[in-house]
């Protein structure tokens, strides 16, 4: 038991921080978020093809570096600090785990090396409802001439308009709940698949609406084993929650850091406002929230790592749901608290477009909702605590 970063992990963290300090200034982030694609393709190219970040958690057999999800979460934390828009989260915390958990070798061999090489980005589309559970799966897979026809619409697909590979959840007509769900992996330019980018409140992360009109797929596209679609999707969403929690921790930390810098310089009544106890105590509460968020996300990252590892410890894997929920609750509420307090403690300038606190505030709000609100995850935990499901 050692819940501390190894020297190698510390190195990855430090080099990511150095790189992002250079490429992800506030003005670079603002330029990227207002650009057509929503991110800077040159920077993404560097991340994907020179720094090999998407390759980190992919096994060497598929062209990756064979490290783990803890490393992915450390990068997420650094990306969260600067809010740099990239397809990293969708590709590495949603789509890659889905591929890694699949037993369809030919799909893994087709797509994982392309992700590892930085050639493609990817995402997962699975909800049409304001909920983040099985009830959101509302695309239907109708059997048709030995394959399937997919019909329906998904909303809120993260970086869905621009990615190259889409993993799509669909259910058998007439099925409800956890039954009848299948996951398909298909090229984003598959005929009948329409992608509509949406303008978003948080401009640093793009969402898309995806419409499927009689999209022809077959078993070659099928990622999930029969009857295993929901358990697989559920695990993917839990792992993505953990990656998101890492990012939220970074956003919370940076919200506090920029605030500490500002209040350490701003003077009123002839003294730095950081010297007022009313302000110090609020900052102490923010640090408490951040460290809780970080502890929960590190612990959960270790569990996700075991789940993605073929030789992972089975008893540890069983903790995935509770660890993901705990991380998502604490990271969401911690980030929102820090970002909201950042605006308040900046005073009037915190309300301007020019200063950065609003960027964090908007990201905090978007991330709190994404993959399930804290209230949703608490209800999931309550079911477990009261033994209402296994």
């Amino acid at each position: 038991m050692e819940l501390a970063l190894t020297d190698e992990q510390r190195m990855i963290q430090a080099s990511a921080e150095r790189f992002l300090t250079q490429v992800a200034s506030s003005s670079a982030v603002r330029t990227a978020m207002s650009s057509e694609r929503g991110y800077d393709t040159q920077t993404w190219r560097q991340i994907a093809k020179e720094l090999y970040w998407p390759a980190l958690a992919i096994p060497e057999a598929y062209g990756g570096l064979g490290l783990g999800f803890v490393e992915v979460c450390l990068l997420q934390e650094q990306l969260g600090r600067c809010l740099l828009p990239t397809p990293f989260f969708a590709t590495c915390c949603l789509a890659t785990p889905a591929l890694l958990l699949s037993s369809n070798e030919s799909l893994k061999e087709r797509w994982l090396p392309l992700i590892a090489a930085g050639e493609i980005s990817a995402s997962v589309a699975y909800t049409s409802a304001p909920r983040w559970d099985d009830s959101g799966v509302q695309v239907y897979a109708q059997s048709h001439e030995g394959g399937y026809r997919l019909n329906g619409e998904y909303r809120y697909v993260i970086d869905g308009a621009d990615c190259d590979l889409l993993i799509i959840a669909a259910r058998t007509p007439g099925s409800i709940g956890e039954a009848g769900i299948r996951l398909f992996a298909l090229p984003a330019d598959t005929p009948g698949l329409l992608r509509q980018p949406q303008a978003t409140l948080d401009q640093t992360r793009r969402l898309a609406t995806i419409t499927l009109n009689n999209v022809a797929v077959n078993d070659e596209h099928l990622l999930s084993e029969p009857g295993q679609g929901w358990p697989m999707l559920r695990d993917v969403l839990h792992i993505a929650c953990i990656g998101l929690a890492g990012e939220q921790t970074g956003g919370a930390q940076q919200s506090l850091d920029i605030t500490l810098k500002y209040i350490g310089e701003r003077e009123q009544f002839g003294r730095r406002i950081a010297s007022f106890q009313a302000i110090k105590h609020r900052c102490a509460d923010l640090m408490l929230a951040i460290e809780c968020s970080r502890s929960a996300s590190y612990y959960a990252a270790c569990i996700a790592d075991q789940c993605l590892n073929i030789d992972g410890d089975p008893s540890t894997r069983q903790q995935l749901g509770e660890a993901a929920a705990t991380a998502k609750i604490f990271a969401s509420e911690g980030f929102f608290q820090c970002a909201a307090e950042s605006i308040q403690l900046h005073g009037g300038v915190g309300f301007t477009w020019e200063y950065d606190p609003h960027l964090y505030f908007k990201r905090a709000r978007a991330s709190e909702q994404m993959l399930g609100t804290p209230a949703f995850h608490r209800e999931q935990l309550a079911k477990q605590i009261f033994g209402e499901r296994t």
Binding site: M1, E2, L3, A4, L5, T6, Q9, V70, L260, G264, R272, A274, S275, Q277, K280, H281, C283, A284, D285, M287, L288, E291, C292, R294, S295, A296, Y298, Y299, A301, C302, I303, D313, T316, E322, A325, T326, I329, F330, A375, H377, R378, E379, L381, A382, I385, F386
Partner: protein, 394 residues
């Protein structure tokens, strides 16, 4: 990062669990889950004998170095010991202040003679200790200590006069460590010294303080020319503040994991009641219970991180959040327990003022955010030491 325990550690866990199962029986069975904070006045004599049973099993000072008479357990094994102890319902430790606070302090700052004199009776469960820090005028402002110690050249001893307060288990203790002003006219943290004082003597009077729980776990201790030998000062005259602060540093250690197991026991009871009285169907209660449940896990993860960072015994800035984190969590659990009980929470276990376990929890948690540095002081510490914000005037 690695969250699993090794096979050897898991084997050690079995060993501790079996030992507890074998020994926490017979006359000691009544001690199970008793004697914790809020219940410290329960069966003190029996709990002292339990400490001696623990000592015979070599579990007192299990984390101390072997050359100090301890067991030299790794951090992981200490974590496991405290977890299994609490899981088995091991009673609140009468010897905690000796084993966890003054023992490590004497080991770090005492002379070889002092170590020889004081450590073995702690390890054998013979000597019990209490803490003489706070005074009526020195609470959050601990350096404002007025208790004086004057040196009596002829008798080669210190004569101590003054008053200490909030002293847990003073009436059950053999020794007290006293922070006293040995340099007349000094102010603040200068001129203080750290003295070990025998409790059973004419110059010391202990008076219980009745708390809002109705029970008396804390005391006032009055010193009127109380005596202690010149050999019983740890460090030099004037070193008191440095040593007192180092002692508080020993307080945040692996025992925190055991404390959390106790919290888990309390939460389990709240969940059990919620299932039987229908609170488990209330969406608001479900949210609050899940929040408490996940919050307790986060306390554990915080502790594991904190302990993983410890190489040389020094804690990193992140460790400053620990007291604020657990006390805030525990206060909320107390409130939650009452809300889950609903109107039943009003009914006492008996007249005149016998509290149920959860009523005691609810009331006692109001002390958690005060003792050992109030939450306001904790926030100052976090802001100044961890975040580097400007210091309060002192």
């Amino acid at each position: 990062m690695n969250i699993g325990f090794s096979a050897a550690d898991e084997q050690f866990r079995q060993q501790v669990a079996q030992w507890m199962q074998k020994h926490l029986t017979g006359e000691f069975a009544v001690l199970r889950f008793r004697g914790g904070p809020g219940d410290e006045d329960f069966a003190p004599e029996l709990r002292k004998r339990w400490e001696q049973v623990l000592a015979q099993g070599k579990w007192v000072g299990a984390g101390w170095a072997i050359e100090q008479g301890g067991r030299g357990l790794s951090i992981n094994q200490q974590v496991i010991f405290f977890e299994e102890y609490a899981r088995a319902g091991g009673p609140g430790r009468m010897g905690h202040i000796g084993e966890g606070l003054v023992g490590p302090t004497i080991a770090a700052f005492g002379t070889p003679e002092q170590q020889q004199r004081f450590l073995p009776p702690i390890l054998s469960g013979q000597d019990f200790w209490c803490q003489g820090y706070s005074e009526p005028g020195a609470g959050s402002d601990l350096a404002n200590i007025k208790t004086r110690a004057n040196f009596d050249e002829a008798g080669e001893q210190w004569l101590i006069s003054g008053q200490k307060v909030w002293t847990s288990l003073a009436h059950e203790s053999d020794w007290c460590f006293v922070l006293a002003r040995t340099e007349p006219g000094s102010v603040g943290h200068r001129g203080l010294s750290f003295l070990l004082v025998k409790m059973d003597q004419p110059g010391i009077r202990v008076q219980p303080i009745q708390q809002l729980t109705g029970t008396c776990e804390f005391n006032e201790v009055f010193f009127d020319q109380a005596r202690t030998s010149a050999h019983n000062m740890i460090g030099q005259p004037g070193d008191g503040w440095k040593i007192a602060m180092a002692l508080l540093g020993f307080e945040r250690g692996v025992s925190t994991l055991g404390q959390q197991m106790q919290f888990q026991n309390e939460l389990d009871e709240v969940v059990r009641i919620a299932k039987t009285n229908g609170a488990a169907q209330d969406p608001v209660m479900r949210q609050r219970i899940a929040q408490a449940w996940s919050g307790l896990r986060v306390l554990r993860y915080n502790s594991l991180r904190m302990l993983s960072g410890v190489q040389d015994g020094s804690l990193r800035p992140e460790a400053t959040i620990y007291k604020l984190a657990w006390s805030t969590w525990h206060v909320e659990l107390g409130k939650l327990a009452m809300d889950v009980l609903g109107p039943e929470a009003e009914l006492l276990a008996g007249a005149p003022y016998e509290l149920t376990r959860l009523q005691a929890l609810f009331l006692f948690t109001r002390a958690d955010t005060l003792y050992g540095g109030s939450n306001e002081i904790q926030r100052n510490i976090i802001a100044e030491r961890a975040l580097g914000m400007p210091r309060e005037p002192r």
